[in-house]
């Protein structure tokens, strides 16, 4: 097949991990007779520097007509002045919103070879296989904000329709897996969470009677995720809780450098990006872990291009590279790390 992939390297380690990932996609394309066309655009801090805005019109226009978007990371100290009127993160939030990507899928499946790097006891991590579905275009991220000399406000809003569509997406996914959905809210305090719980209960009862539903309060979930991670299959939650819980859950997998994500909407185009940030402290040194971006590229093949076998072949190759202990510095014992390019090459070498 032919596919147009918009590439948004962004800031910090973004350009390095994206540059390492494109050859993996090329290798898969060559092997399976596909043709991928990559078009690079600016987003985040680099876009502010070059165009004065974190999401240039040209970037958004290209993303809208692409088959999929592969993104690195945005942000860094250079653009973090508290007085700044434009911030790199606004570019990321704006493109998610503009493309209507309301469901952010973050799989957490610890790999045996990476368990040493996890702070969690390895016996708790056997067979852990979770996908967090984070609502991505609503909630307190996108509500009205005010600031005066004396105070500030952020409005959290959820509509019935916003909850319905993300719950449906999560439940549909649960159906293809172990058939269990955990919905996370703070219904004992928040009105938006009570709406969330009501809608979730109704949608699941009326449309997904074959999927079991469990409600958890976000504070309890922050514990249970650590004490009994095996108990979870698909977890669905609102934007802010999902942000916190997925970073917490990344610790189950040993390194944030292993976690991929897919941001999906009603249409075909999605954004695929590692869940880690731009890591300014190691940017430019060629030592960043490219696996999360490579695994995000696999999700791109699966969800936007429908290339399941190709996606699985990348995942198997990353898994084989980890088995062979091809580790970047975030995972390796001192002195035994490979660099970004070597890690990506190890994946290419193992493609079947």
């Amino acid at each position: 097949m032919h596919a147009d992939i918009v590439v948004l390297p962004g800031d910090g380690i973004g350009p390095e991990i994206v540059a390492a990932t494109l050859p993996v996609l090329q290798a898969v394309a060559a092997r399976h007779g596909h043709e991928f066309r990559f078009t690079e655009h600016d987003i985040g801090g680099i876009a502010i520097d070059r165009h004065g805005v974190p999401l240039p019109d040209a970037t958004l226009a290209a993303a809208r007509t692409a088959d999929a978007v592969l993104l690195g990371a945005v942000g860094g100290p250079k653009w973090s002045d508290p007085k700044a009127k434009v911030r790199p993160e606004q570019g990321l939030l704006a493109i998610r919103k503009a493309l209507g990507l309301f469901a952010n899928l973050r799989p957490v499946k610890p790999h045996a070879a990476a368990l040493d790097a996890s702070p969690i006891k390895p016996e708790l991590l056997q067979d852990v296989d979770i996908v967090v579905v984070r609502e991505l275009t609503g909630g307190i991220y996108f509500g009205d904000k005010t600031r005066s000399d004396t105070d500030a406000t952020d409005l959290c809003r959820y509509s019935v329709a916003e909850v319905e569509r993300v719950v449906r997406r999560a439940a549909t996914l649960a159906r293809t897996r172990r058939g269990h959905l955990t919905s996370v809210d703070k219904a004992n305090v928040l009105e938006t969470s009570r709406l969330w719980r009501d809608v979730t209960t109704r949608v699941m009862r009326d449309e997904f009677a074959d999927v079991t539903l469990e409600h958890q309060l976000v504070d309890s979930m922050a514990m249970h995720l650590l004490s009994k991670p095996r108990a979870y299959d698909v977890i669905v939650t609102e934007n802010m809780f999902g942000d916190i819980l997925t970073d917490e859950a990344s610790m189950l997998a040993g390194s944030l450098g292993l976690l991929a994500s897919a941001s999906l909407g009603e249409g075909k185009v999605g954004i695929y990006e590692p869940i880690h940030g731009s890591a300014p402290d190691i940017a430019g040194r060629g030592i960043a872990n490219p696996y999360a971006t490579i695994l995000s590229a696999a999700m791109l093949l699966r969800h936007s291009l429908g290339l399941e076998a190709e996606a699985a072949s990348i995942e198997a190759a990353v898994s084989a590279a980890l088995d062979a202990r091809v580790f970047t510095a975030d995972l390796a014992p001192a002195g035994q790390a490979v660099d970004t390019t070597q890690a990506a090459q190890a994946v290419i070498d193992r493609l079947r």
Copy 2:
């Protein structure tokens, strides 16, 4: 000294753990020549059942004139009907707010004997000693809420004065400890967090130049708390982030059943309660862990009554009981657990 202590057992295991704690306070009083008068009042679900409201006027009036308040826990399935107009948790939120208890101190100091129960690798937990100071009377917990057929909203608001006072409290505490303060926000997305960061930076620069300040985003913090818990001394954060992060941090200590809290304001009266909930699943069986409530009573002696030596003697006795592996079911291997009363008696036996 004479002290009036208002006792609010609440729901679920609340009455059991409070009943087990009062004899510990009595024993300390007898030993040090104090006289504590305990007056019991209703809050939460039991108050709804008896008085139709989760915080009866008599309860609040008694708390206002008391020297301190010892609280068990509130809530349970009986009062969790989504259609219910009054909820037990409203009583807890209302009394915190009415007494102006803006700073919730939650110490996390894993005890060697409990490390088996923690999901975290023990080598990461050596010397961990953190106090989370959670803002308790502001933020999205207390902002306006709306609900219609089609959507719901919660408003998050923070004023400069609200941030100043809790940061001062946290920084003052850091000064008596290792002199390091970590402020947690989501300043890359929320306006309230940018206010939080600005105010914190200014207060620390102008008034606490001797305390080092570090800012963390809440998502990163959810990771670092697990991967390098030793790096933290005092952590200050807003209400909702504090709720989530302290439950997560409880996993460092092995069991939620070990974590105490103090809710403090400008005045002398504070509320002291375990950070765990009413645990309806084990209520009425006499097996709940009373240590968190006993340790909360120690905080009561320290913060509201100024009885530091007495507080320390309770803490040492709990520590000695843990050393002797006097464990309730949350901590013990199967078949080796003591019950609630036995655990409390073990503490009394070890008071020096």
